[in-house]
Symmetry: C2
Subunit: 432 residues, 2 copies
């Protein structure tokens, strides 16, 4: 899982004897206009990859077929293990453009070939967590569940996206694999096919409730939502007498606000105030905001495609750049793509961040901490539940303006550069 040019460059480094340590940093160049903050995630995946980094014989044999690499280099790959240091912001940290999320210091070849995977892994989970954080804000304390596995970009995105959404506040996921791998609570109701496979809704609802007598959730929009609610109102009390509980109904189409009100009325009139109303179907943070603003009596949301593809901003401008090597700090100066040189740290205070060189005595809390030393993790990975608690606390503590969902924060979070960093950048820039 690396780009060919990483290996090509690595071979050139190998032939040139360039084995000194170098430092690369990973950050997001610009935030999409639709994002006022990012929620960092994906670090655990990145660390697993570093620890497992191996080129097995099949991989070496394939690389040989490319007729491109030196034998010495392929031998070097055979024995290659990650031996470097990693500093990173903890998962669930709020970050902004230009702030290093992760930093690798390792022999040049090792640090170089990690680029593709680190960008992919940290990029994916940060992308989805940042989108899900917006859904969390919109849901305003209501439950929301990840329904996105079917529309995620592949199985890996479904699984890791479920993790990222859970970190950012989703109460559960529909994806069983995510429950299996991460212990995330799984949730689900029924599909239209279940109703269609029965003679009518009444038969389907009755059979489903009997199969899951403690917490049946019935999907009531296969034909006509209000009629579906009337059928629930008719059968739920009788089922209740048998000790069978219908816990909720789900609406998946039509005018959700109006239908939720009608359904609520039908259920309440039948003495079924305890049955919750769940809504799904093309929801995102904006639709949820509208529904709640309209007073729709919806208790929980299923959110799929928009959250799990971050559909309004489906990629992060995430990059991984050499910032320091044996000759000192470096930077590229390509127009529009220049980066800040040197090994950096981010210091956070109540009113803004300062990006500085790592050894500067700057006021504030440093965001990057060491997580790998000499190729080994320096700390036990935090439990997913505690990462999630941190994330929710961080999102809920954001200034109101950053929590805006309908446009850019004015002012945005303040991110300054230290004088020493700016001076260094100016110096290096003027040399070219």
């Amino acid at each position: 899982m690396t780009d060919l040019y990483e290996l090509t460059m690595a071979d050139a480094y190998f032939r040139e004897g360039m084995t000194e340590p170098a430092t690369f940093e990973l950050w997001v160049r610009h935030l999409a206009a639709e994002r006022n903050f990012l929620l960092a995630a994906g670090l655990e995946d990145a660390l697993d990859f570093l620890e497992d980094l191996r080129f097995d014989e099949r991989a070496i044999a394939y690389l040989e077929t490319l007729d491109r690499f030196s034998t010495g280099f392929l031998d070097h790959l055979r024995d290659l293990r990650f031996e470097g240091d990693v500093w990173a912001v903890p998962e669930a940290t709020v970050v902004f453009a230009a702030e290093p999320i992760l930093r690798v210091t390792a022999p040049l070849i090792q640090a170089q070939i990690l680029e593709t995977f680190l960008l992919n892994a940290v990029g994916l989970q940060t992308l989805i967590a940042s989108k899900a954080a917006r859904v969390h804000i919109a849901a305003a304390g209501h439950d929301f569940v990840d329904f996105g596995a079917r529309r995620s970009h592949g199985a890996d995105a479904a699984l890791k996206g479920a993790r990222a959404a859970y970190i950012a506040g989703a109460s559960a996921t529909s994806l069983v694999a995510a429950g299996f791998h991460y212990g995330i609570p799984v949730a689900g109701t029924m599909a239209h096919s279940y109703v269609l496979a029965h003679d009518d809704e009444r038969a389907a609802f009755d059979a489903f409730a009997r199969a899951f007598p403690n917490d049946a959730v019935l999907l009531i929009d296969t034909y006509d939502t209000v009629e579906g609610a009337r059928i629930v109102a008719e059968i739920a009390p009788r089922l209740g007498e048998e000790g069978i509980t219908v816990s909720a109904v789900r609406l998946d189409s039509g005018d959700l606000a109006a239908l939720a009100r009608e359904v609520r009325h039908v259920l309440d009139t039948a003495g079924l105030a305890a049955i919750r109303i769940l809504a799904s179907g093309g929801l995102d943070e904006h639709r949820i905001t509208e529904l709640l603003a309209a007073g729709a009596p919806i208790d929980g949301f299923g959110v799929g495609t928009s959250m799990m593809t971050s559909s309004d901003a489906p990629s992060l401008d995430v990059i991984y750049k050499l910032v320091h090597d044996s000759a000192g700090p470096v930077m590229k100066t390509s127009p529009g793509k220049a980066n800040l040189p040197g090994i950096k740290q981010v210091f956070r205070k109540g009113d803004g961040d300062v990006i500085a060189l790592e050894d500067e005595p700057i006021e504030g809390r440093p965001l990057l901490t060491q997580v790998v030393a000499g190729g080994r993790r320096t700390r036990t990975s935090p439990a997913l539940a505690s990462i999630r608690d941190s994330a929710i606390a961080a999102i809920d503590a954001l200034p109101t303006e950053l929590r805006r969902l309908d446009g850019p924060a004015e002012p945005p979070w303040r991110v300054d550069r230290s004088t020493r960093l700016q001076t260094l950048a100016d110096e290096l820039s003027s040399q070219h």
Copy 2:
């Protein structure tokens, strides 16, 4: 890799003894405004999944912990194998909204639990192939290479996306894993970090060309693109005397059209007309169209984020619905989400398609063919190269209007419903 509700419904079916065969079809409900056609892909992944479908003891043990499923059902899952039939349009077939891409007929439980994966797998590759087909159209015979692994949504999307882009006309991928798994040609140049890791561009270019004497591609925009080209113009002739060939330069930032012209001039003046110019950096089908329309002397394109996330339309409205069961054809009538009932076939003629019931005598070529019978593939999988040839032929044969990249085709491709199908839909709809 299934949603909880698939298993929940399956358990209910199991308890109800509903083991008869049922037919589900998979199709895209609506095309995004940015798409005039889709290129079907992902079938081979879907078939692999069907063949490998197993619930191992770890999976069963996890499901037991959910305290939700009947023991009988879990025993049923332990022994479950896919035993059904699958019909599908071949990969690389052009398809449109509402046309079945894949059809599963199997015992209800088996057919139901496949939903999540089939949507995910066919959705992903169809999404990326359809976007890459647009890049192929824009590139107008120029090479384009997939550079997207770093921004794809996870490792699976990077790998399968590389396959989908290759099918749709990409000449190569940067992702080594895609070369390894699929035999796709891999390509790559150097990154800015390589230049930065050397004292200057001259030293970097010289070292890199010596390491890859047959086909070095030099990245010349780390500091100043035209200055980079001058350095190449200076060193390439001397390297040539040693038998070392610089095959191309790559531009990755700035005004690519203007810079390509300047670079071409610098190289041609130095007698280096054979050095090709490659461009990358935020490219998509629209930028490529503009660059070529402006006469930019660019020989090949690296296309990453926009293609591999289908960024202008990052999801497909792909669904998988029960259309026929032991009681006959079924349909849901939810507002805005009604579907066509019955087991269907798509017939293609020169001027349009007809969606009909499978046994109707309709003129035209039927698109769906049987690929699995009784759980086993009925044919050897086509070679990837031949799928790619079919795709390129299909894209290149599309009517001009469908190949438009700047807006909806007027008229769009004609997709009719047969009279019998429409009559059936009306009948079933009126029953509710």
